[in-house]
Symmetry: C2
Subunit: 146 residues, 2 copies
């Protein structure tokens, strides 16, 4: 069944700070000083990496019983390469990440081959990963002057 | 200059909860009860919407002087459609968002046409938007058994 998820992002008075809200949860984002901010929070491309890693982690947890896969601990390390000169208009490179790499860590007694299969399942199942790997239709649905 | 941004995501003991970390910042993510979690935080696809909205907001702030564009307030409302039956393997639909829509709100005295042009500039400049609109190469760079 199609489900619609919602969020808002609002500029705060201080520099580049942004408050994002979903239901009763919020995340404060900012840029580090070298990117023009006041470093009050992680920046949006870092939050994007967090969303991907969290999505993979939830898939790892949620699907384990159905795969008869047991593990004691799981974490993922992610990194993405971006050239800020792209969105600054200073170089002819894309504005977003050029590549995102991740390493999955399991504490488990499962055999190596089964762990590697499960890691691939996580990679291809994760909704945020699908959005990033295959792209999403983005629609500027309105511009309001309040 | 190519810059590498990094994050980690770690499964917590409670249900589907995940702690994500970037530098000295963290975000707790979870799923609502109807998606199997304990609702201790927003979920990863909601965080993805936040990352997109925050990125647009920072672009709105950071590039305004260069565009001779002034505004008093800015916020963006975002929503994305997803069918959880996709990643649950229950329906032949994609696992991620099928579409993401956003409405940008400005409090400004600028003329309507200039506001609409600036909104389009924000849309095409935002790095997270580029990642989502055009996709990113994702690389499972390793599977470690600790």
């Amino acid at each position: 069944m199609l489900t619609t998820f919602k969020a808002t992002a609002k500029k705060l008075p201080d520099g580049l700070q942004v408050e994002t809200n979903v239901r009763n949860f919020k995340i404060l984002m900012d840029e580090p000083e070298e990117l023009g901010g006041t470093n009050a929070g992680m920046n949006p491309v870092e939050a994007l990496l967090c969303a991907l890693g969290a999505c993979q982690t939830i898939v790892a947890s949620a699907f384990a019983p159905a795969h008869n896969f047991t593990f004691d601990e799981f974490h993922v390390e992610l990194e993405g390469d971006m050239d800020p000169d792209g969105f600054m208009g200073l170089a002819d490179v894309r504005n977003g990440f050029q590549e995102i790499r991740f390493v999955m860590h399991f504490k488990t007694d499962e055999p190596k081959e089964k762990v590697e299969e499960y890691a691939k399942f996580i990679e291809r199942t994760c909704p945020v990963g699908d959005c990033l790997a295959n792209g999403v239709k983005l629609v500027l649905a309105g511009v309001k002057i309040d």
